[in-house]
Amino acid sequence: MAVITFREALRQALDEEMTRDKEVIVMGEEVAQYDGAYKVTKGLLDKYGPDRVLDTPITELGFTGLAVGAAMAGIRPVVEWMTIQFGLLAIDQLINNAAKFRYMSGGQFKFPLVIRGPNGPAEFLGSQHSQSFASYFVHVPGFKVVAPSTPYDAKGLLKAAIRDDNPVIFLESEMSYGHKGEVPEEEYLIEIGKADVKRAGTDATLISFSKPVLMCLTAAEELEKQGISVEVIDLRSLRPLDRETVYASVRKTNRAVVVDEAWPQASVGSWIQAEIMKDCFDDLDAPVELVASEDVPMPYNHALELEVQPTVAKIVAAVKRVAYKEKE
């Protein structure tokens, strides 16, 4: 199997879907002539031309709203936000139009739209470019939200998102674009709404999504050496949420830690933590823990910014707490 980067996996997905379906177009800031701020759209302009690969002015509200309207009329736009942070300028168009028009019209329209871009903390970017906004989108009925952690999942999920007839928010991570992983040559799709057990274990369950999944896998290796067998669940999709896979694991291990790089209050992580405690109450041997970012804006200083986020050490400590093995 070929080993490719996360960014190349995304590019392949876009390329394959654009070849398959002429309704698929790509738009966003610097996606065409500049090849994309993170080079995800590299080469697409040359291959598909300026009618299908469109550089936009820096008007997130305007071009996102335009994509929503285009989707309403049958196009399948893939919109790149240079970062999800800039998307706050456009979120009204997504929530009030893309997510609600189908409902408000009694089912007369559909919005086959993908919004993608880097979400979550990166490095040295300061407060305004480094935070996870997953909960902003997961909150809204009408959206689907996915957040892959590996090149394999990224490719299969992006292809599924493009073929989906609903608005899909596709959360990537700036730190992940260079990560490599195995991706098969033959075509495949990954169903939206299905979690993946990334590592099997018996003593505790780690539940996460996007970039922190890799941290969970490292933590699991470390815990294995200490005699604690950890199952790692990669949610991959946040809406719809694959409760079945999460609960099956928790019912097996009886202990769970949720890891989310967002702020802790009203986050995807705190919501999943509550869901598990409510639905698996009788199966739990310890309260479900949440490892989140600290409740502060992201500082620029590198030592501070690393300590603000979930770390392998914090995850290891949390698993040991739920396993009542803190002192060992």
Binding site: I25, D51, L54, T56, P57, T59, L61, G62, F63, T64, G65, L66, A67, V68, G69, A70, A71, M72, A73, G74, I75, D92, Q93, N96, N97, F101, R102, Y103, M104, S105, G106, G107, Q108, F109, K110, F111, P112, P141, G142, K144, D165, N166
Partner: protein, 324 residues
């Protein structure tokens, strides 16, 4: 006032009939609101009828699309949606044009080109640019009309969409229905310039002011703009000056303006102005007008009866139409 000479009698009759139907419909909607049959926001269109009637008459109804704001009952009627379905929507009934899930601000009929009432001021403007984008991409020969109020023109959505429409040459006609008040704030207090149409010129988009009390002027200017959009992929911007007789919504007594001001506009009522021209040309008599009015009031009453007797949506409908 533009001459009506050269227009078929049928065309003029249908414009007059449509405007009067909208007026009677809105009066009845206001009445039913007062009786608490309709709840929530209800923005009436009285006084502005010439705008949507002129626009709809200018559209190529097979291919063109229309997106508007929340004051959308008139647009729905002009595009041929049944008053029954619109009234039922106001009542929140299952037989409403949006199955009772949209309400006053969200009238839809995909096939008839009524692509929505939007409740967020200016929210429809970038969307309309997108619909126009799709029309150009699909080469379907159509154009998109986008209407919004003078309150919306200061939103970034307007400015961003105008710029995109200009650089991508989209077949769109943007229309500001300047009824002179954004809720209770007069346009003079909210705008840095007196004439709003110059804001389109800033984007290199052909822009002009149109008398929104003259349905013929609206029809002719929108038709010309739509033709340019379809043929040359050239967007246009029209500021159509109009006036709303009622408050912003049903809860607004409109104390921010004088009686004299409202009365001066009643003298140039769009229905009256067309009727007078038709009378002068011998195309309608007072008796015929009264008979038409009687028929339309009857049609509106039937819409109320239809809405009253229609079923509520099943509670299970709450969960349908969220995902495709």
């Amino acid at each position: 006032m533009r001459p009506i000479k050269g227009y078929d009698k049928e065309v003029l009759h249908s414009l007059l009939k449509e405007m009067l139907l909208i007026r009677r419909f809105e009066e009845k909607a206001g009445q039913m609101y007062g009786l608490k049959k309709i709840g929530g926001f209800c923005h009436l269109y009285n006084g502005q009828e010439a705008v949507c009637s002129g626009v709809a008459a200018a559209m190529d109804r097979g291919v063109d699309r229309l997106l508007t704001g929340y004051r959308d009952h008139g647009h729905a009627i002009s595009l041929g949606l049944e008053p029954k379905g619109i009234m039922a929507e106001l009542y929140g009934k299952a037989t409403g044009v949006s199955k009772g899930k949209g309400g006053s601000m969200h009238m839809f009929d995909r096939e008839k080109g009524m692509w929505g009432g939007n409740g967020i001021v200016g929210g429809q403007i970038p969307m309309a640019a997108g619909v126009a984008f799709a029309q150009k991409y699909h080469q379907d020969g159509g154009a998109t009309v986008c209407l919004f109020g003078d309150g919306a023109i200061h939103q970034g959505a307007f400015h961003e969409a105008m710029n995109l429409a200009a650089i991508w040459k989209l077949p769109a006609v943007f229309i500001c229905e300047n009824n002179q008040y954004g809720m209770g704030t007069s346009v003079g207090r909210a705008s840095s310039v007196k004439d709003l149409f110059i804001k389109g010129q800033a984007y290199g988009i052909p822009s002009k002011m149109v008398d929104g009390m003259d349905v013929i002027a609206v029809l002719e200017e929108v038709k010309a703009a739509l033709d340019t959009a379809r043929k040359d992929f050239q967007p246009s911007f029209l500021e159509i000056k109009t006036y709303r007789y009622k408050g912003h919504s049903m809860s607004d007594p409109a104390k921010y303006r004088t009686k004299e001001e409202t009365e001066s506009f009643l003298q140039q009522d769009p229905i009256l102005l067309l009727k007078t021209r038709m009378e002068d040309a011998g195309l309608i008599t007072e008796e015929q007008y009264k008979e038409l009015d009687r028929q339309l009031k009857e049609e509106v009453m039937q819409a109320v009866e239809f809405a009253e007797s229609s079923p509520e949506p099943a509670l299970s409908e709450m969960y349908s139409d969220i995902y495709a």
